[in-house]
Amino acid sequence: MNLLMIIRVALRALRRNRMRSTLTVLGIIIGVASVIAMIGIGQGARASVQSQIASLGSNLVMIFSGSTSRGGVAMGWGASSALKEDDAKAILAECPSVVNVSPVVRSPGQVVFGDQNWSTSVQGVWASYPEIRDWPLVAGAFFSDSDVRGSAKVCVIGKTVEDNLFGTSDPIGQTIRIKKLPFRVVGVLSSKGTDPRGQDQDDIIVAPLTVVQKQMAGTTSVNNIMASTSSPLLAGQAIDEMTALLRQRHRIGPNDNDDFIIRSQADIASTAEATSQIMTMLLGSIAGVSLLVGGIGIMNIMLVSVTERTREIGIRLAVGAAEKDILFQFLLEAALLSLVGGVIGVALGILTSQIVSSVAKWPTLVSPASIVLSLCFSGLVGIFFGFYPARKASRLDPIEALRYE
């Protein structure tokens, strides 16, 4: 008996027991659908975390001033005023792995334009800031090095600030007041969305470092220094170079701790990556268990089915079916059930993850690999759990089977 005939026989047998076939398939459908949906949700979350991290700027290395403690109370990163603008200049001059540097001073401030006002974060930076953060402008141009040196009162605004102050009108060339000081808007940054911590990155105004430092924050130090390397592979080297330079500049003894902290984009990315990977695995394994339960359901039904169909098996043996014909028929029935369940499950899983992403505003990503994987797995589940019942069926004694009531 060839394969085509066995498939025909198996299909007929499944059709004869529609209700039972449907219920068996249901277990696999649920299993496969949950695998697809869970992995889709997990991978979607991972992809969105990755894109958020990428939005911080590629090849980015950040230097924060370290914590100080006042009276035994640790103050957290950025609390000390160890980092200066000169540190940034030194890094640019002396660290070969570093391509671009910009110090950052942050100062919260009230912004007013006409009768509109908005409260945002004003950041004082160098002209290299957009390159480091890989952040193009949608309108106008970024301020220049000479603007920074000359403490020019110009600024570039983020999308959120533009929307809130200007609405639909063109902000370029307009003068806004930041903490009562007049600034001319020279450019608008493109939208970056939220960062991995959920903060709106577009709610920002950037202005020349010198102005923000002296006239707004009233400090000589900077909050952090952003540096970029030519490739992510150089991040480790850059960290080593900067650590050595800053320790020397800050006169830190060999046994003392750094007064700054350096984090590369790769560190942040790999932490987030690991977290989302664990989440995907967790979701996937929960779903895998339900697929396993579906497989055991198939075995259960197939075993019942072998007993219930003993006479049918006897008839088949009497009219010339060989042991292997019966074995393959039952094996194929199980495999077909789980494969059909797999296909429907994949469709249902994609649908579920799409519903999740539209209702929960949660990105989902169903990869072809997870579809192929769960289809193969469900087929294997069918064959694995179908084998024992199929072998049991094929070993029946025809005389006993024909006599079975």
């Binding site: 005939m5 006479r311 009497a318 079916a321 014909d325 005389i399 024909l402």
Partner: protein
């Protein structure tokens, strides 16, 4: 005509725990090609075991069994299904059709196991169902057919592989007298067309349709007689009608 079945010293022992049951105790006989043999005997006489052995559903413990000149004991166990599928057709007391399956598909079943291609299958199934008079019932499932019709489907299934031997295990056991006569008429017709028939029955009336009667007792045949006056279905039917008429008058 030659001998289709030759058995010599055939024994079949069943081991049940400590007890060994000797179902067949040295059966030696032969059945000619084209003959119609009825086997009877009390239950436990070995007649069913004998049927199962010559039908290749069971293997003897010892002895010789030639079917159409071929030594069945020399065959591997795995070759027996092929013999059952190609040379032997079975008709059972309980019909043994697949439920929820059309007459057509039931009859087609043996062909599926013999790799007959679809055009040939259609032709043979249609032929077999026409031969048993059910050409107009092909799509009916067993539950939509009467007992007699179900047995006809079973006979069509037995015929579809053009076997040399038709085995009947109480083929009229579940049928009323009139339907039983119809089935015997069909058997006689098939026998006339050249098929050898061996049938187990405990009804003496039914056995009288065959040309030869074997009686089994304690695992071997104890009598082997040629039927002097074989029953003829037309006569029986007339007789039955007369009886029924008589009952009505009273």
């Amino acid at each position: 005509m030659g001998e289709l079945i030759v058995v010599e010293n055939l024994t079949r022992d069943y081991v049940m725990g400590d007890v060994t049951v000797q179902a067949l105790r040295g059966v030696t006989l032969s059945i000619a090609e084209g003959s119609f043999v009825a086997i009877s005997g009390a239950s436990g006489s070995g007649k069913s075991t004998f049927m199962n052995v010559i039908g290749c559903l069971d293997r003897p413990t010892s002895g010789r069994y030639l079917l159409g000149g071929q030594d069945m004991l020399a065959l591997e166990r795995s070759e027996l299904p092929k013999v059952r599928g190609r040379k032997i057709g079975f008709v059972f007391q309980g019909f043994n059709l697949l439920s929820r399956t059309s007459a057509y598909e039931n009859v087609e079943l043996p062909l599926l196991y013999q790799n007959v291609d679809s055009g040939e299958r259609r032709k043979r199934v249609t032929d077999a169902l026409t031969r048993v008079g059910l050409a107009d019932r092909m799509d009916h499932t067993p539950s939509q057919l009467s007992g007699g019709q179900q047995q006809r489907v079973a006979i069509a299934r037995a015929l579809v592989n053009q076997p040399m031997l038709l085995l009947g295990d109480e083929p009229t056991g579940n049928l009323d007298t009139r339907t039983g006569i119809d089935i015997m008429e069909l058997f006689l017709e098939l026998n006339r067309q050249g098929i050898t028939i061996v049938m187990v029955t405990h009804e003496p009336d039914i056995a009288q349709y065959a040309e030869r009667n074997l009686v089994f007792r304690d695992g071997r045949p104890v009598s082997d007689t040629r039927v002097a006056t074989r029953r003829d279905p037309a006569g029986e039917r007339a007789h039955l009608s007369a009886l029924e008429a008589e009952v009505k008058i009273q």
